[in-house]
Symmetry: C2
Subunit: 190 residues, 2 copies
Amino acid sequence: MTVRPTDTKEEILRLGTELIQVYGYNAFSYADISKKLDIKNAAVHYHFPGKEDLLAGIIDQYIQRYKELGARINAPGITAKQKLDVFISRYTDLCEQNKICIIGSVCSDYNTMPESVKAKLGELIEMVLGMVEKVLRQGKKTGELNFPETARVKSLLIMTNLAAGVQLARITGKKDYTAICKSIIDQVSV
Amino acid sequence: MTVRPTDTKEEILRLGTELIQVYGYNAFSYADISKKLDIKNAAVHYHFPGKEDLLAGIIDQYIQRYKELGARINAPGITAKQKLDVFISRYTDLCEQNKICIIGSVCSDYNTMPESVKAKLGELIEMVLGMVEKVLRQGKKTGELNFPETARVKSLLIMTNLAAGVQLARITGKKDYTAICKSIIDQVSV
DNA sequence: AGAAATACTTACTACTTAGTAAGTTACTTT
DNA sequence: AAAGTAACTTACTAAGTAGTAAGTATTTCT
């Protein structure tokens, strides 16, 4: 088992993710990727034959990372509030880099995507919502958190606040995003 | 004052708006517009020299319509809750047509836009937020509505719920959007 | 009636787009 | 050592992109 000579494929995924978060899916081309990585555009096609394959790969990687996050979160000794903070901080990180969530970004172009990618995106969203829902439900059960809505609906409210919050921050500034985050915490605090 | 022989310019604005709401700003071309309106693509360029001029025109029209909405809302005899419903129903209409809010749509492509359009988009958002904020503040004052946050922050929370709610509905279905709307109302009810 | 403006069409250009087929290099397996 | 495979590059194509210059028909102004 030798060290991989190159990790071009991973670099493409990384840059592709960034381009979606910064400029949007239909606003970047294979040329943008190949130029920045100093490879030929055919090299990008070698790893991801079509642009939809690249998008599928990016979403797959996102799903994988959320799964890892889920495993980390389930370690003992972490409070529900801390778990919720983990989700919020992912969006805060995006906000600070002037990026937006890929789900929100790709959603604008949703109707230009093939069914296979639409399904993958649905899988990702349901996973994230399910994870937040679980944290909320458990937090409510142990008395750590409190809110009048069901855990499912509260997860919808929180995730829409965060997703649109980072989008808004781009235009009106980060102050609004900060206020949103503070309110999310306040709303579930006992 | 005669009847305009054609209203091509308005048809372009209408179709452009629809294309942004359905496919996204960077996913449609002047050819999409000219084909559907059965005109030549140069005719679109005649009315809107560049694509950014078209986007600016679309946002201007949006601002105009929100101003009209604001005037209608200020008529006597309308309760704060009814006013809030007017805003919500605009998003509900979008949701039913599988469209998303142009603000949310264009936000993905924000960094591909010229400064002039960015400024216009900021103007639109501040206007909408300001209008919702005003409704909330007045409703709280008269005792019609109640919420722990400031009117500004509550308007941020509601608008992010709605904007991301219609985006989400595209992928996970309209049921989630309906639940979000119900919660928004419940949260401000006394 | 003549001039000017409006709202286009015709006919194009330069460029970018995703995508491909065939060749090259270097490492790995047999 | 030969064959195969992985990871590319070279060199191209067909289609689409925004955008323009010049011409035309129709209405409006003077």
